[in-house]
Amino acid sequence: MTERRAVLLAATTLGIAVGVFGIAFGVGVVSAGGTVLQAVVMSLLVFTGASQFSAVSVAATGGSLAAALGGALLLAARNAVYGLSMSRVITGRLLTRLAAAHLTIDESTAMALAQPDRDRQRTAFWTTGVAVLVCWNLGTLIGALVGTAVDPLTWGLDAAFPAGFVAMVAPHLRHRRGLLAGALGGAVCLALVPYTPVGVPILAASAAILFGLPGPNPSLDGEEK
């Protein structure tokens, strides 16, 4: 029971943090010329933060639809990998799995994988997923409603985006391949900024994932991340 409470506490804390990030997202959409409805629909249906921020940030700076969509979809592709490992944890009716698929994001997967057994993995996945879904959407709505009343520059909200990305990327840079991919991706992006249309530098950075190629190539059953 205390274990369950610990999971609940962690999920709630995470939810609150994500809610603040959601406020920044809502403000971002509105100051990028989007509507409150667009912000809310995006957070409800897309529901994967990094992709949403990336799409809005590219669109806000005048990037094309293809550039905004391409970068955001590449970021969303990792949820397929998360889905593979979570499909071992959440089994059952198709409807249950389709609902669970929507909740498959960084936070819910990470929390689930941190638990020692299937039962607690299941609890952690659902509580974290639902907490983040609720808080992310509430935050987005609040941010979008106050958005026009707030000058993002005065509050440093333009820096809230990359700051959030820094927090999300840190765990991915703690191993050698991740660090290499991050360094190359960042270098490619900065080098291209002056020479290519907006959005292209982010897309081009994805070439750095080729660091994953070297090494053995057996077929995996989705247990690995």
């Binding site: 609150i16 943090a17 603040v20 990030f21 990028a32 509507t35 667009q38 995006m42 897309v46 949403q52 921020f53 990336s54 809005v56 669109a59 806000a60 700076t61 969509l69 955001a72 979809l73 970021l75 969303a76 990792r78 397929a80 889905g83 593979l84 499909s87 071992r88 198709l94 698929a101 929507h102 440093g156 820096a159 809230a160 990359p162 700051a163 990305f165 927090a167 990327v169 840190a170 991915h172 391949r177 660090l179 991919a181 991050g182 991706g185 960042g186 900024v193 002056p194 530098p201 982010i202 994805s206 750095a208 994932i209 080729l210 994953g212 190629l213 090494g215 077929s219 989705g222 991340k225």
Partner: protein, 100 residues
Amino acid sequence: MSWTLVLALAAGAYGFKVLGFVVLGGRRIPARLVRCLALVPAALLSALVLHDTFALDRTLVVDERAAGIAVAAVAAWRRASLIVVIVLGAAVTALLRRFS
């Protein structure tokens, strides 16, 4: 911001989730592909961080954001929570703007 972007992204994002969870779930996929996909966050999020810190349209600049993100990066590396990292990055940037 267009509705095309919002709805296409919604369809694509859910498509990826269902692909992994329901379609591929339980099947075997090549280890190389898994390793490459696992590097997507490292590559793209690093690019986004540097882009949003140093790019102003199509020029590169060093301004208050750089200091804010540097502080946020130290906090993130020392495993501060998401909320602390975001607030630090925004607050440092906003304070420097106010006093510069």
